[in-house]
Subunit: 124 residues, 2 copies
Amino acid sequence: MSRQKDLVLDILTGSRGHLTAAQVFERAKEHIPNISLGTVYRNLGELHGDGMIGRFVLSDGSSVYDWSPDPHGHLICPVCGKIEDIGDPCLMDDLRRIAGGSLISAEIVAEHVCSDCLSEVNKA
Amino acid sequence: MSRQKDLVLDILTGSRGHLTAAQVFERAKEHIPNISLGTVYRNLGELHGDGMIGRFVLSDGSSVYDWSPDPHGHLICPVCGKIEDIGDPCLMDDLRRIAGGSLISAEIVAEHVCSDCLSEVNKA
DNA sequence: CCTCAAATCAGTAATCATTCCTAATAACTA
DNA sequence: TAGTTATTAGGAATGATTACTGATTTGAGG
């Protein structure tokens, strides 16, 4: 595990975050100023391939890397962009049942206005 | 509704298919040889915005357009590429319940080896 | 400590899906 | 029919991601 790969992993797991490659790149530059975006992509891809981090795709086609490799759904607020995990396991359980038990990957991504943004609207 | 937009819609609904923009473009050229890819994209986007067709994103980031606008999950076979609809409504019902009833969009995409490809493997 | 081979890197060029732009065409309205 | 508006074809631009290349780092064996 190189210094760069270790840093990329730390940025994700240390923040328990959901970050795009560009966001990981920005934070990584604070520690290794001349790290390259290609290195961030390669290491994120390897970490995901090794099952150490999660990954899902937004409706605009860009990827988000997830500190947790355990499959779970995500709720995204289109107003503020916040990403919340879906802790309830019933979705993944049902998906496994429907697929016949042999899931290779599973992505559940839903948009809904989060409670914070909803109360902002109701104030007005 | 222009001739081009009507054709794009017919290609999707007539085949009850799950097609990428490039696949729609290929089929569209059989009827309007000089139709442009940009036109296909624009009309697919408008049809989706108007709620006439569905749309979801593959793990490689490319979009698939769905003849059915009703939200439902999809199972994709990584061997043959076949895309199957998930008819069981419990996934979407649970998702709505978890999100608090106000879903703006929902994508459920899972990979699993389909029964056809599985029996191919078992033969060998 | 030194050497060499393998892994990894930084930087950049290339790719690919998608969007944007513009001048031309088609469709509608009065 | 004339004028106005919507839509098109074609190509250029964009943005995320991947591929390539020569340089740098690393780590095992001597």
